[in-house]
């Protein structure tokens, strides 16, 4: 009995233990399954996150590549434009389409063909057959097109022969508002294939090439116009040169004529002067008073005539460079004083005041004899055109490297319109003195020529009824400035 009880006790004990342990194990198993499920969920979550990370990273990389590609293409465009900007002929423009350029655009083959003629102007790696096939395709599509044509690769049977062509882009090159050329690129080497971006870049290049063609045309037109203008200028220059030569010839002839006439006149004049002087001096016997009076007048006029002939001779000598010029440093102040002293009797006769504004000493480069004639002429004129009681001022001062000599009077003055002509030969201004006193109008012409051969300047300022100032320059001796 005790054994049975013990057995039952053990049996139930074990049964209960198993039941409890089984329950515990079932719980544990459930927990484990839950944990595995949780872990699996976590791993799935990890995978989802990984997907997200990789995809966004890839997108970022793609964007970066796209941006870099665009930057590269922009830099290529910049380079292409800068190298072809100054191209001024068509052949050089076509030579710009090189293998490197085609590769930069993203293709292996490239060509430029005229439209509609179909003449190939540039060809990079296209076979003749392929170009023929593409030209035929374009003939149909390009008829009125001014947009980019894109085509996939394909095979066309031509004359019983199958011709394969790669995918291509064809763009019109428009100049003067019509399609002149077609730019062709083929066999894309870009990993992304031909995208809208490629087409955009390609169309920019086509547009730019069109712009280049326009530039070339306008350059050619302006070059032609320039050439025509140049030819016209050449013709006119030739005509002017011819006229100048003729003028010089005439001028030379005039000088020679004056020179020879003066020479011819001087000999009889010398004889007339000699005899008139002897007659006036009554060396051939006493003369009746009226005859003597008239002979005196003859003698005076002969003097004037001799002076005029001498001046004419001087002018012609200077013009024909037959006069010997000795430009050397001389004291200008002394020369002015000497000339004034020489003319002092005439100044006194006319009761004119003279004022000298001179430095004590001033050395200039000059031909002393010629400048003396200039001074005599100018002061003499001043005496002649200054009424009695007037004033003559002779001044000399330094200005930079020059000495400026001026002879001013308080005479009748010269009309504004006459000032320009005053140095012309035989010109005589209209004033009361000139109306009374006859003259040849050669003095100032001689003066101007003398100053010209010194390579200096002469000028005049005047106001009617107030006076006239003549001035001229002479180069100061080194160290005088």
């Amino acid at each position: 009995m005790g054994g049975l009880i013990f057995f039952l006790f053990i049996f139930f004990g074990f049964t209960i233990t198993f039941l409890v342990y089984g329950r515990y194990l079932r719980g544990k198993n459930k927990l484990l399954k839950q944990k595995i499920k949780f872990l699996e969920e976590n791993l799935n979550e990890l995978d989802e996150q990984a997907k997200l990370i990789i995809k966004s990273d890839l997108e970022l990389k793609l964007y970066q590549e796209e941006i870099q590609d665009k930057l590269r293409k922009l830099s290529f465009l910049k380079k292409f434009i800068s190298t072809s900007l100054n191209i001024l002929d068509r052949e050089s423009l076509f030579s710009q389409i090189s293998k490197e350029v085609i590769r930069e655009i993203g293709f292996e083959k490239g060509a430029i063909i005229t439209y509609p003629e179909g003449e190939v102007k540039a060809n990079i790696d296209f076979s003749q057959e392929e170009l023929l096939v593409i030209k035929e395709i374009l003939k149909e599509k390009m008829s009125s097109a001014d947009y980019i044509i894109s085509s996939n690769s394909g095979v066309i049977e031509k004359e019983g022969k199958k011709v394969f062509f790669d995918e291509f882009l064809a763009g019109p090159i428009i100049s003067e508002a019509r399609v002149q050329l077609i730019f062709l690129v083929s066999k894309c080497i870009l990993s992304g294939g031909i995208t809208e971006a490629e087409k955009e870049i390609f169309s920019i290049i086509c547009m730019y090439l069109g712009q280049c063609l326009d530039n070339i045309r306008s350059f050619e037109a302006s070059y032609q116009a320039g050439e025509e203008l140049e030819n016209k200028i050449k013709e006119k220059t030739f005509e002017l040169k011819k006229s100048l030569e003729e003028l010089e010839k005439v001028s030379k002839m005039k000088s020679e004529f004056i020179s020879s006439v003066s020479h011819e006149l001087r000999t009889p004049l010398t004889s007339i002067k000699g005899f008139s002087s002897l007659l006036v001096a009554e060396k051939f016997g006493k003369l009746p008073s009226p005859a003597k009076e008239r002979l005196k007048k003859i003698d005076e006029n002969v003097d004037k005539l001799v002076s005029m002939v001498n001046t004419l001779l001087d002018i012609s000598r200077i013009e024909s460079r037959r006069v010997e010029i000795k430009i050397a440093p001389h004291d200008l102040v002394k020369l002015i004083k000497d000339v004034v002293d020489f003319l002092m009797p005439q100044i006194d006769n006319k009761n004119i005041k003279i004022e000298l504004n001179l430095p004590p000493y001033l050395e200039v480069y000059m031909d002393r004899h010629l400048i003396e004639r200039v001074l005599i002429n100018l002061i003499n004129n001043a005496i002649k055109f200054t009424p009695s009681g007037g004033k003559i001022t002779v001044s000399c001062h330094k200005k930079k490297e020059k000495a400026v000599v001026s002879v001013a009077d308080t005479g009748y003055g010269i009309a504004k319109e006459d000032l320009e002509k005053i140095f012309n030969e035989f010109f005589r201004a209209d004033n009361p003195v000139n109306r009374e006193v006859k003259g040849a109008g050669l003095g100032l012409s001689l003066v101007r020529r003398i100053i010209d051969i010194h390579k200096e300047k002469i000028g005049v300022e005047s106001q009617l009824n107030k006076g006239t100032t003549f001035y001229f320059t002479l180069k100061l001796k080194d160290g005088e400035a």
Binding site: L43, L46, Q49, A50, K51, K55, L58, K61, Q68, S191
Partner: protein, 368 residues
């Protein structure tokens, strides 16, 4: 006692370049120079550079290495010459050159080196070869199992040359330093694993092809993560962006994917065994930065640092590449930095207990 000097010039005229470099190096090492390692870009002529270096600096040995990019201090240059010059106590370094990278030549060279420098602190070698299998066997035979070894590999032959006297040698150059020259080597990847791990189930090691992952064609690992973007990924060969990683001893070794074959198997460069577990990897700048921060202190007392960067990183990072070097220089402002770019490296795997190929890491070699 070892002394180092670094110099850089980006002048295109070789003569001016080497003169600038010589002036700088001579200001640090005025009397004598044991060796010069010159890294130069393709803009320069090797033989002319060599004659200029030997004429102006007169070092005992010159190693010239052509590289697409060079590193000098905190910057990356695509044109220029950078030089690392060293002066050591007698017999504290040994240089061995081999014309060929055959197993025998490599073994003999390494045996000679270890005989001359039995207690070496580190061996650095430069190799230019497409396929390094015989080289690896040679290294194993010549060196046994040794962690203090790094080979920098350039796939293009003729990129590396060593010059002794007037002869230009090629293919392999070994430099060993005695234990008195302290050399510290570390590599940084900046790659982190993504998603759940997978198992490499079928590999053709001879052809370097991963056939299956988790018993599916290997490419399916990318399909799983890229979903609708898989076509563009495959078309544009973007697999270099996400190498695979094998976890060993808690650390990841990179497996670079070089191509996807028609049967969706993956051609790879690296070392992986069937049954090993791995993950898809992604390069993260923050991870790189943290790794640099972690190791910068132990490198701060060194006299010079030679960086061996990977062209794979350049391919992935592109313009951001220079930021890595800037980060490094900022952390190690007082250590002169020079470096170059290689295709891949060979170092010792402590788990597999053999020398293996790995691509995509930045190797830091410091000397004092």
């Amino acid at each position: 006692m070892s002394e180092f000097a670094v110099a850089f010039s980006e002048n295109l005229d070789e003569k001016v370049t080497i003169r600038e470099i010589a002036l700088r190096i001579k200001s640090f090492l005025p009397r004598h120079i044991d060796f010069i390692i010159a890294f130069f870009t393709s803009h320069y002529h090797l033989s002319y550079l060599h004659s200029l270096i030997t004429d102006m600096l007169r070092p005992l040995h010159v190693i010239c290495i052509e590289t697409p990019l060079i590193i000098y201090e905190g910057r990356v240059f695509s044109q220029g010459v950078v030089a690392l010059a060293g002066l050591f106590s007698p017999k504290k370094y040994y240089l061995e050159v081999s014309k060929e990278s055959t197993q025998e030549e490599v073994e003999i060279s390494l045996r000679k080196l270890t005989r001359n420098i039995p207690f070496f602190s580190f061996i650095l070698s430069f190799l230019s070869v497409e396929e390094p299998q015989s080289f690896l066997i040679g290294v194993k035979l010549g060196l046994g199992r040794n962690e203090r070894f790094l080979t920098v590999v350039s796939k293009d032959e003729g990129r590396i040359c060593q010059i002794l006297g007037k002869k230009i040698y090629g293919k392999v150059a070994f430099i060993g330093w005695d234990k008195e020259v302290e050399v510290r080597h570390k590599k940084i990847s900046g790659f982190i694993p993504l998603g759940r791990f997978f198992t490499f189930t079928k590999i053709d090691k001879k052809r370097r092809i991963i056939l299956e992952i988790d018993n599916k064609p290997a490419f399916s690992v990318y399909r799983k993560y890229l979903e609708e973007r898989i076509d563009i990924f495959r078309e544009r060969k973007f697999f270099y962006l996400y190498p695979l990683g094998v976890k060993r001893n808690g650390l990841y070794r990179l497996i670079a994917i070089t191509d996807v074959l028609d049967d969706e198997s993956l051609e790879f460069r690296g070392e992986v065994e069937e049954g090993e577990r791995g993950n898809i990897m992604i390069l993260r700048r923050e991870v790189f930065r943290k790794e640099i921060e972690r190791i910068s202190e132990e490198f701060s007392s060194y006299k010079v640092m030679l960086l061996v960067d990977s062209l794979l990183r350049e391919k992935i990072l592109k313009e951001k590449l220079k930021e890595e070097i800037i980060i490094l220089k900022k952390k190690l402002p007082s250590v002169p930095l020079v470096g170059f770019y290689s295709d891949y490296c060979i170092d010792f795997d402590t788990h597999l207990k053999r020398f293996i190929v790995e691509e995509g890491n930045l190797h830091l070699l410091s000397f004092k």
